[in-house]
Structure formats: structure tokens, C-alpha cells
């Protein structure tokens, strides 16, 4: 049987950063269902936050101010010690990335350039034009190549094996070989990303199904704050490709069908640069009021920035508009609408990235430390992935150095692999049944209807009922093709089972939380309620169904106050 000290699942920024943070003395491998450079981190555009104070108008910036903005942006649901850790480590992290070759854009004096972003008191977001995720992912991958890190590309992890409340191994499906592979592991870091494609409209890559989060939940690991789903204000109408917040950071306007910069009616002080939850809600409210175009979208207008600035700072955005919408933002406004973008919640871990399951760690979007609370600020997700990916690699190494005792588990691992194979065979033998791609489309519609930008008890309850029907339909799923190698039907089939769990936890957490906070807006409870709800939702799986408990938020120097922008 294959055997590793540490398996890192996911080859995006968090996974690569974990691999670089792990002690090279251990036997480590990165498993990813796609080649690491195809991970969704590559699509991040606008930038990464750190209080470098490089610009004259940002000279007074400090990591404390960064932490304060992060906590305020989170609607006070972030754990303040974790947010402080993130912001403190941001500065050396950027300089290390620079030393590793990240081609950041520069100021005239040669220092790393920074731009304003929503909810930030200073221009704090470091960037490389509008392809920051792309250049960071390639930079970390290059350093991983330099370190000769082992990659198991195009392997989908399907199961987590637990024995005596300890992680002992994983099962994977090797797509190129078309075989199921049992693997022994002393420690595992999940860096599997978000679940964006559980929603109908999402900026996320097609591969972001959230299987990793659901898999952890099925293995008994609690999920935290899953009801907090970020909707990005500006995504290309129809395609929902991200139109970076940097477009507004560089001075872009949001304009409704009446030609009005409507943010004046919502956040007159910060206008377009309020945090994402507020801007997304404002846009949707305008559309719902009939002030949108075709009742579907508003305009993101960049024309006044001028051709030169657009070409220099937002070339990727322009390229996307030309190729995917047939318009040039130099001459025409961009039709935009909000869409799902990010998952604040995730696998319950502490600030060392350790989960309650011994030997199991998680980092990046699949995890919830929590530093983003109820709403993440733009520019903090790349940062979180890299900083906490690194911490996860370090923590797992400390755990391994402690010499976890042998608990065996080979029998459980082999049995689970056999069970998966026989389940796949039986699915294969069916001649009729449900097509998994169509079940996935049904799930997306369900989640967008039930748990979108605006929520209330009746729609959330109905969502839970419909989800039970989908669960039932999934039992009749079948595989159409003679599918062995590169069977994407099987990939979605395995992930769908986990996605249903993720969907249930989101809906249930949202139904129970009877207040409005950050991204979670309840029409029937439109006010934040600190007395009852300044706490994390923790949902754990049991034989009788999900068990909901709550945990206090760690408050530090920043006392909760009304959030005004």
C-alpha cells in the first residue's frame, strides 16, 4: 500500500504553501484532482493585502489597521486573534513571495505597488495588474518544483479513513489510470477549495464542487459558519466571470438603468468601495426595484479611466470582456450582476489549522479559522490561503515530529477502497436511472433559490425539503458510459454525494441563524443581533442527522460596533 507521512489534498495556493511549509524530512505528497496550475487560485485577479505602507497616501498603514478592517468587514464574527495573526504575517509573506519571483506591479521608486480595495482604510492591496492569483500560483508552483516536491496529479480523493478517532489514510481515484488507490497517511492537510459550483451563478471554476468540505463532514469533522456565502458584486452578466474589485479600486463606477451612481443611496462615504456584502446587496436591491437593465444587471463603467489606465491596470478584464461578451470596456460599460464567489465558512480548524480529528488539518477556502467571519474583504483570500497554508504545513510537521503512535488501519483503508469499487460497479451495472450532471444542475437551482443574497425561513425550509428529494434521486444514479479512465462522470458522482451534505449544512445554518450579519441577510430578521448571535455556528454529523451547536467568538481589542461605511 502507498504510504506517506503527510498528504496535502489540493494544489492551489493553500496546498502549495502547505507543501513549502512542511518539513522536507518527511515523506510528503500533494494530491490534486487537476494539475496544480489548473486550480481555482489561478483565477484571482485584484490582489493580496498587506500593510506595507508603500504609497504616500498609505504611509500610516499598519498590520493593526489591516486587522481592524478585516474584523469590521467580518461584521465582528472573525476571531480577532486569528485576524491579527493573518495581518501580522502578511508583510513578511509578501516579501518572501517577491523573493521567490512573484512579478508584482511596482511604484516609481521600485517598491511593490498597492491599490485601494473595498472596506480598507488605506491602499493596501498588492497586485500584478489584474492577474495576481495567476502569478502567485505559478510562483509557488515554481518553488515547489525547485524543492522537488512529489505531486500526484489528477487524483481525486474520495474518502477519509478514520480509526480510533485518528486519521489513518485516504482513498483516491487515479483518473489517468482509471483505478482506485488506497493510501496510508499519518497526517493530512485538506486544501480543497470552496464549493462555488453548488450555486447556479458563481464566479468559481467548474471544478469547485466543494467535495473536500463534504468529505470532511462525513468523516465526523465539524463545519463552521457555513451559512456565510459571499456574493461578488461585479460578475459579467450571463457568464458570471469575475470582474475584479480592482476595477472599482481603480475608480470604476456602478451605474443603474437611470444613469445614476446608485451607491450614493447606500454608502455615500465609500461609494463603490464599500465591502462586498453591502455592494452586492445594493446592486440586487436596485435590480429588484426595477432600476436594472432587462431586470437582470447594472453597469460597471470604466470609460472615464481612459484607455491607457485600463490597458495597464486591467488588461485581463478587458480581454475577458472582448472575448466573452463582445465588448470593449474602453468604449462601453460592462453589464454586471452579483454571483456566488467565496465561502467564508468551512472545515472547523483553529489558528494552527488543526481540526478536532487528530492528524487532520485544513487551510484555505475549504477551512474556517475564522478570519473572514460573516464577510471577507477583497484581497484577503489569497493572503489567507498562503499564510494559513504555510501554518498548516508547519503544524502538521510539528504533529509528525511528536511521533504519533501507530494505530494501524490498513484493514479499514482496504475495506473502504473495496466498498467504493463495488459501489461503482453497481452504479455501472444499472441501465437506467438519474444522470448525475442533471442532478448537479438541480442542486444549483435549489441552492440559488433557497440561499441566495436575500433569505428567509420559508425559502430555506423549502430548500431543505427539496434537498431530501435530491438525496433520494441520487440513490438511483447511474453511469452512462463504459467509464474507466478520465471518467468525469465518476468524479461528479463521488463529489455530488459530498455536495449534498455541504448544501444541507449551509441551509440549516442559515435557517437557524435568525439575524442579519455580513453576507447572511434574512428578510425576516433584517438586523444584527449581538446579544443572541455573536457566535460561530458549528454543525457536526451524527447518525441522527446534523447536530447544531455554537461557539463564542474570540473578541480582542475591537469591540463590536455598528458597521458603517
Amino acid at each position: 500500500m502507498l504510504s506517506y507521512d503527510l498528504l496535502i489534498v489540493g494544489g492551489g495556493l493553500a496546498g502549495l504553501s502547505a507543501a513549502l511549509g512542511a518539513d522536507p524530512g518527511f515523506k510528503v505528497a500533494v494530491i490534486s484532482k487537476v494539475h496544480p496550475l489548473r486550480s481555482h487560485s489561478v483565477a484571482a485577479q485584484g490582489g493580496i493585502n498587506a500593510a506595507l505602507a508603500n504609497r504616500p497616501d498609505g504611509a500610516d498603514d499598519t498590520s493593526e489597521r489591516h486587522a481592524f478592517d478585516t474584523v469590521k468587514g467580518s461584521d465582528y464574527l472573525a476571531d480577532q486573534d486569528a485576524a491579527e495573526l493573518l495581518c501580522r504575517r502578511a508583510i513578511p509573506t509578501i516579501y518572501e513571495l517577491d523573493h521567490w519571483g512573484a512579478p508584482f506591479s511596482r511604484l516609481e521608486n521600485g517598491k511593490i505597488a498597492q491599490r485601494p480595495f473595498g472596506g480598507a482604510g488605506f491602499p493596501r492591496t498588492c497586485y500584478a495588474a489584474d492577474r495576481t492569483g495567476h502569478i502567485l500560483l505559478h510562483t509557488l508552483y515554481e518553488q515547489a518544483v525547485r524543492r522537488n516536491i512529489t505531486f500526484l496529479d489528477e487524483w481525486l480523493v474520495t474518502d477519509i479513513i478514520v480509526r480510533d478517532r485518528r486519521l489513518v489514510g485516504l482513498i483516491a481515484y487515479d483518473l489517468a489510470g482509471g483505478v482506485i488507490i488506497p493510501i496510508r497517511a499519518k497526517a493530512v492537510i485538506f486544501a480543497t477549495g470552496g464549493y462555488g459550483r453548488i450555486f447556479f451563478r458563481s464566479t468559481n471554476a467548474y471544478i469547485n464542487l466543494g467535495g473536500g468540505i463534504g468529505m470532511a463532514y462525513k468523516a465526523g469533522i465539524p463545519l463552521k459558519d457555513m451559512e456565510f456565502v459571499q456574493f461578488h458584486p461585479t460578475t459579467l452578466f450571463g457568464k458570471n466571470i469575475l470582474m475584479t474589485e480592482a476595477a472599482r479600486g481603480e475608480g470604476g463606477y456602478l451605474v443603474n438603468a437611470k444613469g445614476r451612481r446608485f451607491m450614493e443611496d447606500y454608502t455615500p462615504k465609500t461609494m463603490e468601495l464599500a465591502p462586498r456584502d453591502i455592494v452586492a446587496r445594493s446592486i440586487q436591491a436596485e435590480i429588484d426595484k426595477g432600476n436594472g437593465f432587462e431586470n437582470e444587471y447594472v453597469h460597471l463603467d470604466l470609460r472615464h479611466l481612459g484607455r491607457e489606465k485600463i490597458l495597464q491596470r486591467l488588461p485581463g478584464i478587458r480581454d475577458i470582456c472582448i472575448h466573452f461578451a463582445g465588448l470593449d470596456p474602453v468604449d462601453q460599460p460592462i453589464p454586471i450582476q452579483p454571483a456566488q464567489h467565496y465561502s467564508m465558512g468551512g472545515i472547523d480548524v483553529d489558528a494552527t489549522c488543526a481540526s478536532p480529528l487528530e492528524g487532520f488539518f485544513a487551510a484555505g477556502e475549504c477551512a474556517c479559522v475564522s478570519v473572514h467571519g460573516a464577510n471577507r474583504l477583497g484581497g484577503n483570500s489569497l493572503l489567507e490561503s498562503i499564510v494559513f497554508g504555510r501554518i498548516a504545513g508547519e503544524s502538521a510537521s510539528i504533529y509528525l515530529r511528536g511521533g504519533p503512535s501507530e494505530v494501524g488501519g490498513d484493514r479499514e483503508i482496504a475495506e473502504t477502497a473495496r466498498a467504493l469499487m463495488s459501489r461503482m460497479r453497481s452504479v455501472h451495472e444499472r441501465d437506467v436511472g438519474e444522470n448525475v450532471f442533471q442532478l448537479l444542475n438541480r442542486l444549483k437551482r435549489l441552492m440559488s433559490n433557497a440561499a441566495g443574497i436575500f433569505r428567509d425561513a420559508p425559502t430555506l425550509s423549502r430548500g431543505l425539503e427539496e434537498l431530501a428529494e435530491l438525496r433520494d434521486a441520487y440513490r438511483r444514479v447511474f453511469i452512462y458510459g463504459n467509464c474507466g479512465r478520465y471518467c468525469q462522470e465518476m468524479v461528479v458522482l463521488v463529489e455530488f454525494e459530498h455536495m449534498v451534505e455541504v448544501a444541507e449544512v449551509i441551509l440549516l445554518g442559515a435557517l437557524k441563524r435568525e439575524e442579519t450579519r455580513g453576507s447572511h441577510f434574512r428578510r425576516d430578521f433584517p438586523k444584527r443581533d449581538d446579544a443572541s448571535w455573536l457566535k460561530h455556528t458549528i454543525i457536526t454529523r451524527s447518525d441522527k442527522g446534523p447536530v447544531v451547536t455554537y461557539r463564542d467568538v474570540q473578541i480582542g481589542p475591537y469591540a463590536p460596533q455598528e458597521r458603517k461605511y
Binding site: 487537476v34 494539475h35 496550475l37 489548473r38 486550480s39 481555482h40 489561478v42 483565477a43 509578501i94 516579501y95 518572501e96 517577491d98 523573493h99 521567490w100 519571483g101 512579478p103 508584482f104 506591479s105 511596482r106 516609481e108 521608486n109 521600485g110 517598491k111 511593490i112 500584478a128 492577474r131 495567476h134 502569478i135 505559478h138 510562483t139 515554481e142 518544483v145 525547485r146 489517468a176 471554476a205 467548474y206 471544478i207 450571463g238 457568464k239 466571470i241 469575475l242 480581454d319 475577458i320 472575448h323 466573452f324 461578451a325 463582445g326 444522470n435 448525475v436 450532471f437 442533471q438 444542475n441 452512462y480 458510459g481 463504459n482 474507466g484 479512465r485 478520465y486 468525469q488 462522470e489
Partner: protein, 239 residues
């Protein structure tokens, strides 16, 4: 519309064959969306790589009506044809349908140390780099390693030793970066037919690149750099 898609499973089939599907695309539908539509509603066994659907992850290079391109970046309407023929990238073994084995491409990528080698420790306040220097490498850092250039390159087709355009463009990116401190000898490793002299300058790589990287510029730049470096050394030896 008719979509003729190449089907093949290296494990079970002797020969690839084309399978035709009828599919009516929506306005602004991309080839990738069409493939997904066909897979989701007609034939779930159809295999192809995909991820970001916005031309930044590099997964979906293929041959569309004879042209190498990213499926996600190609609009069905721009083909101006009632029939679309879709084949996997040439120059690489087909594994399943539109999925090819990229192992030779990734091995080539690793040939010339594709990582920045800065001198010393991380400077406390970061490196100082002129924006004009970053602009010089910007065309190369746009590369998404989709392997379109590798597939289009006639030299890579006939000579397996040649690393191809992407690997050389990557090396050029590092040699132009003022933070990189690799010795000339490391660059000189590309001084041969498997490196910069393999290119026969027909610029197919520049033509097919979906990100306008212009890898041939990089190869040309490396050639000049290598010739200049060797000349300088010659004069140092024989003053």
C-alpha cells in the same frame, strides 16, 4: 448544429473515431460550454479537461475546426460554420477523447530550472524593481502553460528532444528578471538543438498562443543573450 468530436479510449479502442452530436448553442456560447452541454444532456461519457472557463487555467487546449485554441475562449459563432470538428491537441498521445498525455510537455517545462533564483535572504523591505523591468517580463508571465504552442510546434512534432516554446519562454522570463541571479552557465544549458537552436522560426507558437505570450520573442532573446555571453567569454580569454 453538428459537432463532430473525436472519441478514443487508449485502454479499449484500437482506432479513434468521430462521433457526431446535434446541439443548438445559445448566443455567446463557447466551445467549452457546448461540450459541457453535450456531455450533460446527451453523452455523459464524453471526456475533456476543463476548470476555470475564463482562459486563465490552461486546461482546455484542443483543435477546433483545424485551429489550435482554448475551447473556453472560442465562441461557436466566430467559427462561422454549421459544423464544428473537435480533436485533441496534436503532438501528444491521446488518453481519452479530448484528453492528451501532457507528460512530455511538463518534463520539458522542468528542463531549464523554471524558478527564480534570487541571491541571499529575503530583503527586509523587499526588492526594489523598476516597473519597466516588470513590463519587460509581463508578456512571459502571462503564459498559462496550456501547451497550445507545444502542440503547434513543427520541431517538437519531429524531435522529442526539443523542449518547445513554452519552456524557453519561461527561461527567458527569468533571465530578464533583475532579481534572478542564475549564472550564465545555467542559461547556456539551452545552447543546443534541444534548446534555443531547435526552433526553426516559423512562429506557429506565436500564432496559436491564446495569451499573446509570443514565445518566439523569448527564444530570439535567449539566442542573442547566449551568443553575446559566449563572445564576451571569448574576449576575456583572449584579450
Amino acid at each position: 448544429m453538428t459537432f463532430k468530436i473525436l472519441r478514443f479510449d487508449a485502454q479499449t479502442d484500437e482506432q479513434p473515431h468521430f462521433q457526431a452530436y446535434r446541439h443548438e448553442p445559445e448566443p455567446y456560447e463557447t466551445i467549452l460550454e457546448a461540450l459541457k452541454g453535450i456531455r450533460d444532456h446527451q453523452d455523459p461519457s464524453l471526456s475533456f479537461r476543463y476548470s476555470c472557463r475564463e482562459a486563465v487555467c490552461g486546461s482546455c487546449g484542443m483543435v477546433i475546426n483545424g485551429r489550435i485554441a482554448l475551447a473556453c475562449r472560442t465562441q461557436v459563432s466566430e467559427l462561422e460554420s454549421d459544423e464544428v470538428v473537435i480533436e485533441p491537441l496534436p503532438n501528444l498521445e491521446i488518453q481519452k477523447d479530448l484528453i492528451v498525455d501532457l507528460t512530455p510537455f511538463w518534463e520539458a517545462y522542468r528542463t531549464f530550472e523554471p524558478f527564480l533564483q534570487a541571491a541571499g535572504d529575503v530583503p527586509e523591505k523587499g526588492h526594489r524593481v523598476a516597473e519597466s523591468d516588470m513590463e519587460k517580463i509581463s508578456q512571459y508571465v502571462t503564459c498559462i502553460l496550456c501547451a497550445c504552442c507545444y502542440s503547434a510546434c513543427p520541431v517538437a512534432t519531429r524531435d522529442r528532444r526539443y523542449v518547445g516554446p513554452a519552456a524557453l519562454a519561461k527561461l527567458r522570463r527569468f533571465t530578464l528578471d533583475p532579481r534572478d541571479d542564475r549564472p550564465f552557465s545555467a542559461v547556456e544549458r539551452a545552447d543546443g538543438p534541444e534548446g534555443v537552436w531547435g526552433c526553426d522560426t516559423v512562429f506557429r507558437c506565436n500564432d496559436v498562443c491564446p495569451k499573446d505570450v509570443r514565445p518566439a520573442d523569448g527564444i530570439e532573446g535567449l539566442r542573442r543573450m547566449i551568443v553575446a555571453g559566449k563572445t564576451k567569454r571569448l574576449f576575456r580569454r583572449h584579450p
